[in-house]
């Protein structure tokens, strides 16, 4: 049994930097709290290096078989750590000198740690623990700025999380009861012989918690309020980072632990995917505030991502499709939020009128990110969608691919509702377009550039994501 802590180096770096940062922040004067942010960034960079080193080593299961260090985990580590770096840069303008700046950074790190653990969890109990670790810091983060809306958002987030978390706990108990194991590998054998109804109830309950984490229908109802009620930097984090780990966790749970011939989970996930993308799109149509629009957009994006999970095990492309799309989504979504963070006073779509004339580069970044979310080539989400659709048709879910295409066309409408005023001549109050600072803007440019770069370099990146999760291998 491998219990070498060095296998968890990226996770330990996140944890260590969070703990030291918290202690450091307690001693530092308010104007020096940027040191904590610097520490967090350094830890993330070190974590990326450690991940790169880990990726060159053979896959392994550590701590019994509770945690898998394999391709999905390593890719998740890399995406989450990059997302942490982006989030740190994105939030500089809004949080520097704030009396809770340290808390912001530490909560972000702890939530990211929980997210990575979700992806690597190869045991239901660890999955549950990771779920809590990925949830609690984000509840606190949602209420971070202490405003009335933020407090309400945090409460709603917490209540739905608590409710669905309990459901997940129940599901874990049921699956343990019928499958006689919590480890995924053993659970697979147990569930193959288990009563279908009980196993189905247990699985649905566990998925409920994960759907809450990724903001997919029907666990999505916190997304709009939390996204709209919190500052852009927080909204960017809670709509991006937990999804990364939650989706990979769902993929690993379903493809490793639940035999598809015992329970028809592909159809269940396909229905969830259809619901998420359709509902998210329809609800996004007539939103007037940009953060609420992006909130519904993230719900619909989760729908497309779930397609890749629905065909897990049926198409070789499922895993690269999922991981690549997650990476592209994270970068593109963070980029869109970076633009929002740069213009904190522009809350509604109308406020963006004439932005292109005042700040053409930022408008360009916004256009790249929004067209990226639509899935226009050559951005990363396009390649993600291409591979996801291909995997869907390959895996026998052609109807889902067609539905996703119809949804994609529908989504054009609301993304354009935002792009259009941005490129129109201004006749509104320019006070709404006061920039917040340089950090958010530079982050937006970097994300837009990265979204295109990732799209063009798809050929290099995709093969790195293809190795299947460890315990499916014979």
């Amino acid at each position: 049994m491998n219990e070498n802590p060095a296998a968890l180096l990226p996770e330990l770096l996140l944890l260590g930097a969070a703990v030291i940062g918290l202690l450091l922040g307690a001693w530092l004067p308010r104007t020096r709290q940027w040191l904590v942010r610097l520490l967090a960034a350094a830890a993330a960079v070190a974590g990326l290096v450690a991940t790169a080193v880990a990726a060159t080593r053979p896959d392994e299961l550590v701590f019994g078989a509770a945690y898998a260090v394999d391709t999905p985990t390593n890719v998740t580590r890399a995406i989450v750590l990059v997302a942490v770096l982006v989030a740190l840069a994105l939030s500089v303008d809004a949080t520097t000198g704030h009396r809770r700046e340290t808390e912001f950074v530490v909560l972000l790190q702890l939530g990211a740690l929980g997210t990575v653990l979700l992806a690597g969890a190869n045991d239901l109990l660890l999955l549950l623990a990771a779920f809590l670790l990925a949830s609690v810091p984000f509840y606190a983060l949602a209420g971070w700025d202490g405003s009335a809306l933020g407090t309400e958002a945090a409460l709603k987030y917490y209540l739905s999380g608590a409710f669905l978390g309990v459901a997940m706990l129940t599901g874990t108990a049921i699956l343990y009861g019928v499958g006689r194991a919590t480890g995924y590998g053993a659970l697979r054998e147990g569930l193959a012989a288990a009563p279908v109804a009980a196993a189905g109830v247990g699985l649905v309950a566990v998925l409920a918690g994960l759907l809450f984490k990724i903001g997919g229908v029907p666990g999505h109802f916190w997304v709009p309020d939390v996204t709209d009620g919190t500052p852009p930097a927080v909204a960017a984090i809670v709509t991006t980072i937990p999804k990364i780990g939650g989706l990979v966790a769902m993929y690993r749970l379903l493809s490793v632990a639940v035999p598809a011939d015992a329970l028809d989970w592909p159809l269940l996930v396909a229905v969830l995917a259809a619901g998420s993308m359709t509902l998210g799109n329809l609800a996004a149509f007539f939103q007037t505030t940009v953060q609420r629009l992006l909130a519904y957009s993230t719900i619909s994006q989760v729908g497309y991502l779930l397609i890749a999970i629905a065909v897990a095990g049926r198409s070789d492309l499922a895993q690269p499709a999922l991981l690549y799309y997650v990476a592209g989504y994270a970068v593109t979504n963070l980029g869109a939020f970076a633009v929002v963070a740069e213009l904190p006073h522009a809350r509604t779509i109308e406020d963006y009128r004439g932005m292109a004339r005042r700040n053409p580069a930022l408008a360009g970044a916004l256009a790249v990110c929004l067209f990226g979310l639509i899935g226009t080539p050559p951005t990363a989400v396009f390649v993600g969608k291409l591979v996801v659709f291909t995997a869907a048709v390959d895996g026998g879910f052609a109807w889902l691919a067609i539905l996703a295409i119809v949804n994609t066309v529908a989504s054009v409408f609301y993304y354009l509702r935002w792009i259009v005023p941005t490129f129109r001549s201004a006749d509104s109050d320019p006070a709404a377009l006061q920039p917040a600072g340089t950090w958010s803007a530079v982050t937006a440019y970097a994300c837009a550039g990265l979204a295109v770069l990732l799209g063009v370099l798809g050929g290099v990146v995709l093969p790195l994501m293809a190795t299947q999760p460890l315990s499916t291998m014979p």
């Binding site: 659709f389 054009v412 354009l416 798809g458």
Partner: protein, 500 residues
């Protein structure tokens, strides 16, 4: 070489974006004309280079795991369209020398559009094709929304975007089916043609052709997918309409000859009669609706539906094997490709001319004008030439194309061809009527407030942009061999592929 031709405009566009917008207008327009001219010269060099089959091929693995490569090359089907693109963009660059609204982004947008148009015609990989197809929609959207005529332009741009984007995604779905059907999986056009992955026919092949057909039909556009076209044309700036009609519509018809026919030959033969029917309906419907228009730009837009209908008739007839010999099918195919070039040149010129009219009178309503020939003789003359070329008078490129299509299609689809000939008659009537209403009779000019006076005749830059297009259309009409010699070997190869 092809990569240079394709990406030169984009590189210059990127460089121009770094220049502050306060720089003199001449810098941007001058650079634009220069780049377009250089690009055209390079295309001429490619044209003159000897060789057969795919020439100037370049292939670099792009995403090998999913069978995508950067693969470009030209043959007799694509080279005429590449040349057309280079010519028409140069004409638009010259025409736009007088543009003064947001020149920097205007030029950058056009150069980007030129790159994606050229890229589409040389792409030999389905995803590369799709990439350029989609980007052409994005750039054209900004062009219509940004430089069109006010609030309605944005509605038209949105409609254009939604329709053609839906079409592009249907296309993507068809491509994915082709990709999965091929063994090994690939998006490469040449490999797919060689593999003929869905040779067995069946529902999957029919579905693939349906998805690809709808995607291309929306872009072409044919009845009943044409409804985005008239508003987009009416609201776009003159140069935008010229590019939209001259180049972007060809992306649809070119897709038929490059993708639908050679990759799905058996299925194409099976359903070719549908293409013929849709083509004839487009011919007649487009002509009749155009006849009913009072807005001159809308009228020309509907004649595009009519002219693209001939192309569809030609490619459909090429797929009907019974009752026709190989030579007839080849003639129909050659005619279809020639028609793409002819329509691009002539309609491009017509749209630029309506731009001149709008510049002077601020309206497209034909009833607002009368007797313009006296005030603007050169404009009237050029317009008359363009109109006669468009209605298919012998001596112009359109005649050569339509003659070939009719001759080639007559044997296999006699009824359809006979009906389509009626379309020519209607087009002739509507153009003559328009000429009569606008240019003859007592002089009457629109009297809206803000109408600039006097009604100046064609400026030098406008003449320099429009006249060469018509000269070229006449040269093709009188001495078509230089063009047909390029197209014919390729269409022979295509017909062989379809009937294999």
């Amino acid at each position: 070489m092809l990569s240079v031709i394709v990406f030169l405009p984009a590189v210059v566009a990127a460089a121009l974006l770094l220049v502050p917008a306060t720089a003199p207008r001449r810098l941007f327009t001058g650079a634009w004309v220069l780049v377009s001219a250089v690009d055209l010269a390079l295309v001429v060099a490619v044209w003159l280079a000897p060789g057969s089959g795919f020439r100037f091929e370049e292939r670099v693995a792009w995403m090998p795991t999913v069978g995508i490569s950067y693969h470009v090359g030209v043959d007799g089907l694509s080279l005429p369209l590449v040349a057309l693109t280079a010519v028409l963009f140069l004409a638009c660059a010259v025409f736009a020398l007088r543009e003064n609204r947001g020149v920097k982004s205007y030029v950058a947008l056009f150069l980007a559009l030129q790159t994606v148009s050229l890229g589409l015609f040389v792409a030999l990989d389905l995803i590369l094709f799709f990439l350029f197809f989609d980007l052409s929609i994005v750039f054209m959207y900004f062009l219509i929304a940004g430089w069109g005529h006010g609030e309605r332009a944005r509605a038209a741009a949105l409609k254009f975007f939604l329709y053609t984007f839906l079409g592009s995604l249907a296309l993507l779905l068809g491509f994915i089916v082709l990709y999965l059907a091929a063994e090994p999986h690939t998006f490469d056009v040449v490999e797919l043609v060689a593999a003929d992955p869905l040779a067995g026919g069946g529902p999957v092949a029919a579905f693939a052709l349906l998805a690809i057909g709808i995607g291309l039909a929306v872009k072409t556009p044919t009845v009943p997918f044409h409804t985005w076209l008239p508003p987009a044309h009416t609201e776009a700036p003159a140069t935008g309409s010229a590019i939209l009609a001259g180049i972007l519509l060809k992306m649809g018809t070119y897709g038929f000859v490059r993708i639908a026919m050679p990759i799905l030959p058996g299925t194409w033969r099976q359903y070719a009669v549908i293409a013929v029917v849709v083509g004839v309906v487009s011919v007649l419907y487009g002509a009749l609706v155009a006849l009913a228009q009072t807005d001159i730009k809308r009228m020309i837009a509907y004649t595009s539906v009519n002219h693209m209908g001939y192309v569809l008739l030609g490619v459909g007839a090429a797929g009907i094997v019974t009752g026709s010999d190989e030579q007839a099918r080849q003639l129909a195919t050659t005619g279809a490709v020639t028609q793409m070039v002819a329509h691009g040149l002539i309609t491009g010129a017509l749209f630029l001319l309506t731009g001149v009219l709008h510049d002077r009178g601020h309206t497209y309503d034909m009833a607002a004008y009368s007797g313009l020939a006296a005030r603007m003789p050169r404009f009237a003359g050029v317009f008359a030439v363009a109109a006669f070329a468009s209605l298919g008078l012998p001596g112009f490129a359109g005649f050569i194309a339509e003659f070939q299509i009719f001759t080639g299609a007559l044997a296999s689809a006699p009824v359809a061809t006979a009906l389509a000939v009626v379309g020519i008659l209607v087009t002739a009537a509507l153009f003559l009527r328009a000429l009569q209403r606008v240019f003859l009779g007592p002089e009457r000019l629109p009297d809206a407030p803000g109408t600039p006076r006097p009604f100046a005749d064609l400026h030098a830059s406008e003449t320099a942009a429009i006249v060469p297009l018509l000269v070229l259309a006449t040269v093709i009409g009188v001495l078509p061999r230089f063009l047909l010699d390029v197209i014919e070997p390729a269409s022979r190869a295509l017909v062989e592929l379809v009937t294999r």
